[in-house]
């Protein structure tokens, strides 16, 4: 056990940079967190216009006060079981940084929880996910009491090549 834990303990400097406020939301039983400075607004689920020839997790586009923005289903993105939409389902509009350009993208989540202040020392680096792919998109794991919040690096989650059209 000591072997595996030493290999996953990160250089502490990396984790300490991520302390701050996070907007937390739920996908099923899992709780995730987004850096608050990335969040533009939270809107209810609305009609989404499907766009052909995009990847399955790209739900389509919506009209956000005159601006057309792409909406991504985070469950689909994470290969999770899709669920019925409820009245708690909503779209979080995030501003992501894509090679220097800023763009707004909506992500569909099951439920928005709260804004949490997570101190740097409460954040652990992303764990080894048992070989099921890389954990680049995770900033770290925030420990709040007994629960664990998965803190997302949303820029990585929604990197452009993931949105572009499947060939």
């Amino acid at each position: 056990m000591s072997d595996s834990s030493t290999s996953t303990i990160p250089p502490p400097t990396k984790a300490t940079t991520h302390g701050g406020k996070y907007l937390t939301f739920a996908l099923g039983k899992e709780e995730y967190g987004l850096q608050i400075l990335k969040v533009r607004e939270i809107i209810g689920l609305m009609d989404i216009t499907a766009v052909p020839r995009t990847l399955p997790h790209v739900r389509g586009v919506i009209n956000l006060r005159g601006q057309v923005i792409t909406v991504v289903d985070l469950r689909a993105k994470f290969d999770m079981q899709s669920v019925e939409k409820t009245d708690q389902t909503c779209i979080i509009v995030v501003e992501i940084n894509q090679s220097g350009r800023k763009l707004n993208i909506g992500i569909i989540v099951d439920r928005v929880s709260e804004v949490l202040d997570i101190a740097a020392e409460k954040i652990e680096a992303s764990p080894n996910l048992g070989g099921s792919g890389d954990a680049d998109f995770i900033l770290g794991m925030g420990k709040i009491g007994d629960s664990v919040k998965i803190l997302l690096d949303i820029d990585q989650v929604l990197s452009t090549d993931d949105l572009s059209i499947a060939a």
């Binding site: 701050g20 216009t49 052909p52 020839r53 995009t54």
Partner: protein, 700 residues
């Protein structure tokens, strides 16, 4: 993390969490902004900017608490935007600190050690240094100087016609005087010294100590070009945070200008004198009047805007294009929201007449607003035309031909986006007219035409379009040779009869335009396919008229605005799509006999003796259709150039004007879709890219 960063995070969190009517939450935001201001470090270059934004934001919150703002949601969004702006300002810090200029004293900073100071120059050139504290001033200067330079170019071109036009001389003097003044103030050494040299020269010219001639105008035009380069470099430096590079061409330019200025006092003719008498006169005047500061009564106070010939209105407000676009967006949304409300009210059973009447009034105002906002996007075309007259002048010099460019309708307005886009095609066409259309003076005389050729550039509005016309009195197009060439190239099957228009259109084909033989005959070869493509991508078209020996007229027709198109809304399954009206030829419900298949898959429809491939949109886009049989559905025949295909849709929902939106930056180009539109009910609808679909259909 510093105190102000932490507070800003709190602000961001609070703005997301607080609703507009939550007074306590607002009060907290207000105090957070105050705390943020207090926590700002005093000495950083961005302190001022951050403080002013946070003060403004604080004021808005205050007014919200006092219920002075009606649209609290919009105000809330504004606060959100300001918070983002603050984050941007704070994040901007690391970019500006590594630049050494922040710490080094600015005054009298020596040029970079690597750069050698040329010995010949009369004025010691200091580098352009940007004090980070001045960056907003510099940004303003870049804008302003750009305008001055443009005005100067116009004035110079006028002077080129009449070397003594005192108004243009004054305009030039004022423009460069202002540039010099501001450049000196914000310590832009290079720009200042060039402006100073030009100003000197113009001062001599307006005090009649110097007669301008073709040579000096050339030099001044080059100086204006150099100034443009330096301003562009400054603009780049502003964003990158590094010191603008030293312009190697500057010392030589200063020397030239100096030379011209001195030529007057030593009464030496420099360059090409306009005429002998002029030189003598200039010498006489120069001998009489020493180059003293002018007593010209027309000399304007510093900073007066240089009038560039057109009537400049005095009350003009500069607004950033981003703000303008968001205003236009917001008004578009307003119109949509208004339509939705009216529809909902109309469907209420006991509709109150009063409400309906009031809503109609609101609708009127909303549409008026929309028209107004659209007109704000419009700018006159004269900027592009001015570029053309500069180009024509250079071309005439280079080619040794004589021709003049007449410009009509420079005040014609068109969409801001179009102005940029129309410039390239125009350059091509003016160049072609000069290179190939206009004959040499000797040939012209032989043909019984005046030696000096005539090219007319004219712009006007016609039926919702902007029309730009380029008419020359050159040799015209040779139909027979174009046709022969096209047949040799296999573009036209031999023996096929073509109308005059069709033959002229051939020169816009890629295969022909690259053929150098045709350019011998008719000209208009170079890049005409590019011109056509550019114009078509703007949903415009080109018409050609020509008479051999008498000249040709090229007419470019463009829509007034890029923002709105007429579209046909169609339904496929549960999805709606917009097809641009310009690409639609007709729509029909085919009879069983009209449809034929190849290999049981590829369907064709016989329309007026032409076979048109059928594209099943539902297959293309993976939608469940209502009708699976073409004979039950509707075929919309679209065309692009000479290619056609028919799109199979379930229903035509009607024609409407839609505002074009890009599909967001997140998605790359999607084949078959050219963009999105927001329909009357606020939903997004995809605009079909007819040429793209046709190409992929005919490519199979």
């Amino acid at each position: 993390m510093q105190a102000h960063d932490r507070i800003l995070q709190d602000v961001a969190a609070a703005t997301v969490a607080t609703s507009a009517d939550d007074l306590q939450g607002l009060a907290r935001i207000h105090s957070l902004f105050e705390a943020f201001r207090a926590a700002l470090p005093t000495s950083e270059p961005w302190t001022l900017a951050a403080a002013s934004v946070s003060t403004d934001a604080g004021k808005i919150v205050e007014r919200m608490i006092l219920s002075e703002i009606a649209d609290t949601d919009a105000a809330m969004r504004q606060i959100g935007d300001m918070t983002t702006e603050l984050i941007g300002i704070l994040q901007g810090i690391p970019q500006s600190t590594p630049a050494p200029i922040t710490q080094t004293p600015i005054v009298d900073a020596p040029p970079e050690p690597g750069s050698s100071q040329p010995a010949v120059q009369p004025v010691t050139v200091k580098q352009d240094l940007i004090d980070p504290n001045d960056s907003s001033l510099v940004a303003e200067f870049v804008l302003e100087a750009g305008e001055h330079v443009e005005a100067s170019e116009a004035a110079l071109l006028k002077l080129d016609q009449d070397y003594t036009d005192i108004e243009s001389i004054n305009a030039l003097f004022r423009a460069f005087h202002t540039i010099k003044g501001v450049a000196g103030f914000i310590r832009l050494g290079q720009i200042g010294s060039l402006a100073h040299a030009v100003e000197n020269l113009m001062d001599l010219a307006r005090s009649n100590s110097l007669r301008l001639n073709a040579g000096s105008i050339d030099a001044l035009l080059k100086a204006v070009d150099l100034m443009k380069v330096m301003i562009a470099a400054l603009d780049r430096a502003l964003t990158s945070g590094v010191t603008p590079p030293i312009q190697p061409a500057l010392p030589a330019m200063l020397e030239t200008l100096h030379h011209f200025a001195h030529a007057t006092t030593t009464s030496e003719a420099v360059g090409i004198a306009a005429s002998d008498t002029a030189t003598a006169e200039a010498a006489a005047v120069a001998a009489a009047a020493a180059p003293s500061p002018s007593q010209d009564p027309a000399s304007a106070p510093t900073g007066a805007p240089a009038a560039s010939g057109q009537s400049s209105s005095d009350s003009v407000v500069k607004v950033s294009t981003d703000r303008l676009d968001s205003l236009i967006n917001a008004i578009g949304e307003l119109v949509i929201a208004q339509t939705m409300v009216s529809q909902d009210v109309a469907s209420l059973v006991p509709a109150s007449h009063r409400v309906v009447r009031e809503l109609t009034q609101v609708g009127k105002i909303a549409r008026e607003l929309q028209d107004l906002s659209m007109s704000m996007r419009m700018v006159p075309i004269h900027g592009v035309f001015q570029k053309m007259s500069r180009l024509a002048r250079d071309l005439a010099r280079k080619s040794g031909k004589e021709f003049e460019l007449e410009i009509i309708g420079g005040e014609t307005e068109l969409d801001r986006g179009l102005v940029e886009a129309v410039s390239d095609p125009l350059v091509h066409m003016v160049r072609n007219a000069a290179d190939h259309g206009i004959e040499s003076p000797e040939d012209r005389e032989k043909a019984g035409k005046p030696r000096c050729g005539h090219v007319r550039l004219r712009a006007y509005h016609q039926a919702g379009n902007v029309v730009v016309e380029i008419k020359d009195d050159g040799r015209g197009l040779n139909k027979a040779k174009i046709l022969r060439k096209a047949q040799e190239r296999g573009i036209v099957p031999p023996g096929k009869e073509l109308s005059e228009q069709e033959i002229f259109k051939l020169i816009l084909c890629a295969g022909l335009s690259t053929a150098d033989k045709v350019t011998d005959v008719s000209g208009r070869g170079v890049g005409m396919d590019v011109v056509l493509r550019n114009v078509e991508s703007l949903r415009g078209r080109i018409d050609i008229e020509s008479q051999e020996g008498l000249g040709s007229t090229f007419t470019i027709r463009l829509p007034l605005t890029l923002a709105v198109i007429d579209g046909l809304v169609v339904r496929v399954g549960d999805q709606r799509y917009v097809i641009p009206i310009t690409s639609i030829e007709q729509s029909l419900r085919p009879k069983p006999g009209q449809i034929s298949t190849v290999r049981d898959r590829d369907e064709m429809c016989m329309v007026r003796d032409h076979l048109v491939p059928v594209v099943r949109l539902h297959q293309l886009f993976g939608v469940q259709p209502t009708h699976d049989e073409p004979t039950e559905a509707i075929l919309v025949i679209v065309q692009s150039g000479s290619l056609r295909c028919s799109l199979m849709v379930d229903e035509l929902l009607g024609q409407q004007q839609v505002v074009i939106k890009s599909l967001g930056d997140g998605l790359g180009p999607i084949s078959g879709v050219s963009g999105g539109a927001i329909l009357g009910d606020g939903n997004v609808c995809l605009i079909l890219d007819a040429p793209g679909i046709i190409l992929s259909a005919s490519g199979q």
